[in-house]
Symmetry: C5
Subunit: 350 residues, 5 copies
């Protein structure tokens, strides 16, 4: 849980970083591209400005690192972004949301980067400010997941170079949603991996593992759920900043986010039924243990009583002196034991 409470009592728009520092320095790069060319350069905070932009190009300002409130504040003022936006950018515990500031759109989303070694994913916050022909992206760390889009821009692959900033936003959101699939499939494989173990050898560690996966699914669900509204807002074109030509792609993205939610639900249902199976396996093993105890105890308790009888020191016990009594007694005890076993067998306890 993030430490939102450190901002209690402060006025709105107070710029305080909430979260962990993930990169050394804040790095700002500006990518400018149009149909025929692209340029990229690294900017100082003081250089960033939205004035004098060429309408025929798309500008992508990538900010990597949001731990430095001063830098982000200075940058925001230079770009003319509302303090409330900057506050959200700095607060990495914000819920995904979309806010329409008329001139620009403000989006907060979560990326999920799955680490297959650790079997876990990291949630990071991405903030976007979408203007008419510019997009500003704020990442908590170095935004490697955007690399495929960068390469497509540079390689002029697909229609990205001939589209506007809204298509760029779509392309980045698409990469983010694709990473949800990567995470879900990774978790799905882990779940498959413990299916067998569950029945053959249910140990408490299995249960903790299932519980941890459930908690992870819970956090994933909380991050994905608001994405539906955000992408739905874009898909309905409630803002003129989204062009009609992009709408079709965003609707496709919307279908993907629905599918992510579906898969999340399915995995949660499967985890729940795995938990049931685990508990059942444990209880089955316990029952087996108890049955063995019962069978051994019920066979030997009467026999122990019998041998106890003939261990008594009472004077007048005629059986003790019969000639074949000892072997006969063995036969009797054997018969009792066998009788018991037959009884258990019939009752299908064995």
């Amino acid at each position: 849980m993030s430490k939102h409470s450190i901002k209690a009592g402060l006025p709105p728009g107070s710029l305080i970083h909430v979260g962990k520092q993930k990169v050394e320095n804040v790095r700002i790069r500006l990518l400018r591209y149009s149909e025929d060319k692209w340029t990229e350069k690294e900017l100082q905070v003081s250089q960033a400005s939205l004035e004098g932009l060429d309408k025929s190009s798309v500008y992508w300002l990538r900010v990597e690192g949001v731990h430095d409130a001063d830098t982000i504040g200075q940058l925001g003022r230079g770009l003319g972004i509302h303090p409330l936006v900057l506050e959200d950018v700095l607060d990495t515990g914000e819920r995904p949301k979309i806010e329409n500031y008329l001139d620009y759109l403000h989006l907060e989303v979560k990326t999920v980067v799955y680490n297959s070694q650790a079997g876990k994913f990291n949630l990071e916050q991405e903030s976007f400010v979408l203007g008419e022909n510019y997009l500003i992206s704020f990442s908590e760390s170095s935004a490697d997941i955007y690399n495929p889009v960068l390469e497509r821009i540079k390689a002029k692959a697909g229609m990205i170079r001939s589209s506007g900033a809204d298509y760029l936003l779509y392309a980045l959101l698409d990469v983010i949603v694709d990473n949800y699939f990567v995470a879900l499939e990774g978790l799905g494989e882990e779940i498959d991996g413990i299916q067998d173990e569950l029945v053959t050898n249910p140990v408490p560690a299995t249960m903790h593992f299932i519980n941890e996966l459930k908690t992870q699914m819970l956090y994933l669900h909380r991050s994905v759920w608001p994405m539906r509204e955000i992408i739905g807002f874009l898909a309905r074109r409630e803002t003129p900043l989204v062009n009609e030509s992009t709408q079709l792609y965003i609707r496709d993205l919307y279908d993907h986010i629905i599918q992510v939610m579906d898969t999340t639900e399915t995995l949660r249902d499967i985890l729940t039924s795995m938990m049931d199976m685990y508990l059942n396996s444990v209880s089955n093993r316990m029952n087996e243990v108890m049955k063995v105890l019962t069978i051994i105890a019920t066979i030997f308790i009467p026999l122990t009583f019998i041998v106890g009888v003939y261990g008594m020191n009472i004077d007048n016990m005629p059986e003790l002196h019969w000639r074949w009594f000892y072997p006969v007694l063995w036969v009797i005890m054997f018969a009792i034991a066998v009788g018991m076993m037959v009884f258990f067998k019939r009752k299908k306890w064995w």
Copy 2:
């Protein structure tokens, strides 16, 4: 779970097959029919085109096999289908959906073919592109479930020959929904088949079987649920591609899909209560086992104590030397055993 993640980072409309190859080669057949005649021919990929279609006929282009991205891509370009449609056709893990491209409708649905031997069903994806007087269907494997419709066209049964492409789409969806009923009734019979076993002989395998059925119902539910929206969209005639005369039949189909969902829900509720009954049966058997242990132990433990007393080697134990002590002791022990049994009987433990 399908491997959607292999497309992570690719631009939209990237044609990559996601799923398993189910037939050897992609096969394309064109069926043309009107009120008075029908012709069918096999096409090469390069021959497929939507130009110069006769308005008075209905054209059904059947594509069987979607594993070859190149072929599907070439076909799609020839037919002028949007790349996003082709991407969905190739991705067999897509959620059922309907998308309106103004000139044509794009549908993704799931067929459920029940295999009564295996007691399982196979989910396959069917894609449709519905135009003014043509329908293109993409099947993962050879689409045998469409055979009844084919025969009806050729035999001029019902009103299919005198209706348009929308009625053809209806007829195919109707067959698909009918197959849901086949699957549900098959599963229903399997469930009936284990009802008795559940009470008389609850083994862990039963539980795994119930769990597997539940998982199957879950996947079925996920496939059927979005069908409601799809058929509802058609039934509300939100597109001019659906004629008023067909609407009545689609409303009937809508009722069927609601009934499928109802039955799915009922089966899930029954499976849940079967699980409860299974757990209860197991617990009843365990209780029975424990009762037998308790009864035998509580009867013999005091008796064993008594015979232990008279096995002591203490010098001065007058009872040992009484003449009738041995038979009297037997009587006493017998009385204790009977008393215990009566006690248990009264407590209704027996």
Copy 3:
């Protein structure tokens, strides 16, 4: 579950009976009534027609028995009813529904006839076709539950004779809904009947009985739930076939169906808490059994050890030769037993 699947692949409007035959022959009777007189006659299939009806009378065509697809088909063609309606009439597994065919309304509802001897109810399907001044009713068996309405018509009781066909439909639906109350109250009494047994003597049969009641409630719920929409459709007067004067009565009926659903919910909640109580009773009894075992075992195990000690044949055991050792030992053992009991009493295990 009905065998809907036998229709898989057939064209819409295929007339196939799904369900069980419940009467020998299909019987068709026509009741014609107006303010001042009534006549009733038995019809042959070929005689049924909707032409030349007198606008000042109400015509009620009662069809009893829907197992004969040919007869129903011939009848339907004579009356000019759409094949989709006839298909639903013949398929007794249809979900309750209402369908507006402009000239007439088509309703499918379920009757619940409670059999107090068997403690069960039978679900049967009733189909209605409501026209301007006629009502056609299709019953699976002889429709005895309509008798009160028939008598009211013949006896000119209430306002039925002076009202139209829509009021007749209301009257029949009212009788059907009243029978839901009869069934619910019957089930309610059965539930009351096992309340006591549940606590005093919980046997597995009780649980199966509760489970069966739950399944019955489930089917009842599935039949009643869609009735809400149907009656709501009529109450909102979305069709001119329902007169304003009848609307008030249908709204009253709507309240009744809401009450039926409420009662169903209440009974389900009660059954769920009975299940909990049953499981708790079973577990209480088991705990009692285990406590008796524990108490007897923990009292006698130490005592048996003690008498075992003095049964040893070791040469040098001075106690064995003490004069009062035997009675002293009894006192010691008695003290141990009493001490144990006091301990258990204090712990409130007794």
Copy 4:
């Protein structure tokens, strides 16, 4: 459950009392009040009429006792009330509802009178007919809960004397809702009362008590839930019979009914978690019992084996003849017992 089923098959508006007789005779009193004066008189059934009412006064006709269908029927005809209203008045098992008859409103609500001695509440039905300047109230028994309102009218307290019949209705509903709070707080105190008992001494009776409270909450919930719609209908002023000046008060009442529902939900959640705590307490006690058994048994079983060994009559057992064997054996056995105890202590079983 009420015996609604006795009306099965009867025409609508059939006047049959459903429920229990709660007062000796039906008593009818008419209270007439205006800003400056009030009069009250007892009426015969035949005297009741709505004709010739003075527009400047408010008339409140209180009917106590609804068991006599004839009297209520005669009264209803005299007042010109629709038979469906009278049917609902007589059927005390009706669900709370509101029905707009244009000239007048018909309300059915439930009063909850809490009996703190019995720890239970009684549900009774109140029916209202609200006209332009009259209110008719039907109570099952003597309507003592209205006394505060009566006194306020007579004492000219508050604004009731200067307001219309709609305010009178509001005042009566307000008293009814206040009584829900009384019942909820009473149940809340009972729940608090068993909190301690739950942990220290969980007996099956506690569980039945919780279950009974849950059932009571269930019935309360079913009675309160429809009240929300009823008061919401009045608060939205969907009828001209409610004046704008009263609306504010009804909105306040609406907030109260929401609060009643909230409290009901909270109590149900608390009861559910109490049930969990009860089951956990029972299971904890059982575990404690089992642990004692296990500890005593595992300590003494090996010791009993040892003394059994030296009770054997085998000729050649050298230990038996060692001089210090007996005390040494005691030391060994004591060491085993202590070792066991230390083992259990380490495992934190003690």
Copy 5:
């Protein structure tokens, strides 16, 4: 639960304090501020009035202490506030709500002040009356949580001094919502603190602690849930009392309240799964205990039987006289014990 029931039967607007007295005396302070200056003074009840307010200033009337119905009543009359508002102010058990009185808005909200020592939070009620350029706040105790806002006003920090009364209301609500985060994070830390304990040493006290946290979350949820509607009402600007410039901040606040609800849900889910883990831990420990019993009992029961056999006093038992029988018997018994252990080891019971 508050004692709302003491008002049963009283007319609306009856001024009765429901709750606990939390401060000695009611204290009333008036803060007046505008862009360039601020003044604060303590008022007597009789001095409070809304007449002659300067339109260019904002007036904040802070009332601390609502236990004295007379004082609040006198104050309310002086300010011209509706009696229903005053009634709600005095009833500290009211549900959060917003009510539009056209001239002014009335809000009831709950503050949550977390006490980290006690690990609990206190719920207190705050009432607001928002007029055109005044805000009246009623607090149950000394409203220390407003101090940050007071300081911002006095220090002219942020835009509060240049905004209207609606911004002041926003600022106070913002502080209240921030305190929800403080409470949630405090509870979150407590939950983290017991995570480890849960698995290593599950004691019943842990369960009661979890249950108590759940109850606290329940009350928090009930307080936060209606806040959504209240802030949503303000954010939609359904009243002209909220300026457009403030709307953006209120929308930000709305996002925060959604996040509070999300966090509440997450914590509840975590508590539920902790409960499951606790129960599982308890059951695992119990199973371990039972296994030890079973293993020790099943090893020694057969051995005890064997030594019992050779303790019998039967005359003719040849083994007793064999020379090496005693050591051989030890070997046999040892072999049985080892065999048993191997059997258990193979079954993975150890």
